[in-house]
């Protein structure tokens, strides 16, 4: 709702900016402003995850909002288990994305048309078209991967997380993440080759 925020509220809303996450989550159980800070810290990553899983900006915003509303409803029952708070948010988002796809039936290719593709600045139109075709083929190949591999790629590239951070979020070791990444690259290449992309 616009207009709720008053001048000077910005500093108020970020007063928990320096608080460590465990304390912040506890505070968020009794203080809306602390929940607002949790939102600020995590919203972009959750949006990336959802957007790249469904390929539609409008629906991604809707599911992002639903993820945080569900988190708000359930935060009183949240129990700290030594994993980052965002792992819990990813789980909520994952369930919502799964329901979204279930409701839409076969989804994997249809949403690709809606993804925004733009060539590099100064790129020749024919070259840009080729690049776009290649990107679409790559997105299709990504969508054919198991969810875990898609999540790994989104965290690695869109969220720019390190292997160690991804490992913490996915409950795996760093070396296991490297191994999973390597297998994912291999699978993507095989998938593209099978569709005559080199």
């Amino acid at each position: 709702m616009r207009g709720v925020r008053q001048p000077g509220d910005e500093s108020e809303s970020r007063k928990y900016a320096d608080m460590d996450e465990i304390a912040l989550v506890e505070q968020a159980k009794i203080d809306p402003e602390a929940f607002g800070e949790l939102y600020e810290r995590n919203v972009e990553k959750i949006y990336h995850y959802i957007y790249y899983r469904i390929g539609n900006a409008e629906d991604a915003e809707d599911l992002t909002a639903r993820t945080f509303y569900q988190a708000l409803d359930n935060i009183p029952r949240y129990v700290e288990k030594g994993v980052p708070f965002i792992a819990w948010l990813y789980r909520i988002a994952h369930n919502l994305v799964a329901n979204y796809h279930r409701a839409r039936g076969r989804w994997k290719i249809t949403s690709l048309d809606e993804m925004e593709v733009s060539g590099r600045p100064g790129e020749r139109p024919d070259r840009a078209a080729e690049t776009n075709e290649r990107l679409r083929a790559l997105w299709s190949a990504i969508y054919r991967q198991p969810e875990e591999r898609q999540r790994l790629l989104i965290m690695k590239f869109a969220d720019r997380l390190s292997n160690q951070e991804i490992g913490r979020l996915m409950g795996r070791t760093e070396s296991s993440i490297k191994s999973l990444y390597f297998r994912t690259l291999k699978a993507l290449k095989a998938d593209l080759e099978a569709r005559e992309w080199q």
Partner: protein, 147 residues
């Protein structure tokens, strides 16, 4: 597996360098689905190319600022309502509320819940002062016991 090498390599995209992979992955590393990519070979060139293309395909996105701000405000408002309802339901009865500012916001939220009904606003404010009074009585008793 890289030609001429007995060790698998992967690209650490963060630092754009090759990193070693364990030669014998643990059971945890076994693919769940697989079949995919089982017969494919991967050279360093393939690896770098696919990795570079992935970084072009999965770029960080900027959330629409209006959406971000709007959702923030709606969540705060919704949180205030929910917390106020929990205050009324006595959820916080056994929990010390550390900051006076927090409980004041809860009261404001509670007032927002019953904005359409003057009765509920009054009852919420009354509940707040009742709780405060109760706390003050407890403090006095503690002080008396300490004395």
């Amino acid at each position: 597996m890289v030609a001429g090498s007995n060790q698998e390599v992967s690209v650490d995209n963060q630092n754009h360098r090759l990193v070693d992979l364990p030669l014998q992955p643990s059971r945890e590393d076994e693919p769940r689905d697989d079949g995919q990519g089982a017969g494919s070979t991967l050279t360093i060139v393939d690896l770098l190319r696919t990795s570079r293309e992935l970084s072009e395909a999965l770029t960080p996105l900027t959330l629409r600022p209006a959406f971000r701000a709007e959702l923030h405000d709606e969540l705060i408002l919704s949180a205030q309502r929910q917390y106020a309802q929990r205050v009324l339901a006595g959820d916080f009865a056994d929990k010390p509320i550390a900051q006076e500012g927090v409980s004041r916001r809860m009261v404001l939220g509670a007032a927002a819940v019953g904005l359409s009904s003057a009765v509920s606003v009054i009852s919420v404010v009354a509940a707040y002062y009742w709780r405060r009074r109760g706390r003050r009585v407890d403090d006095l008793e503690e002080a008396r016991e300490a004395a």
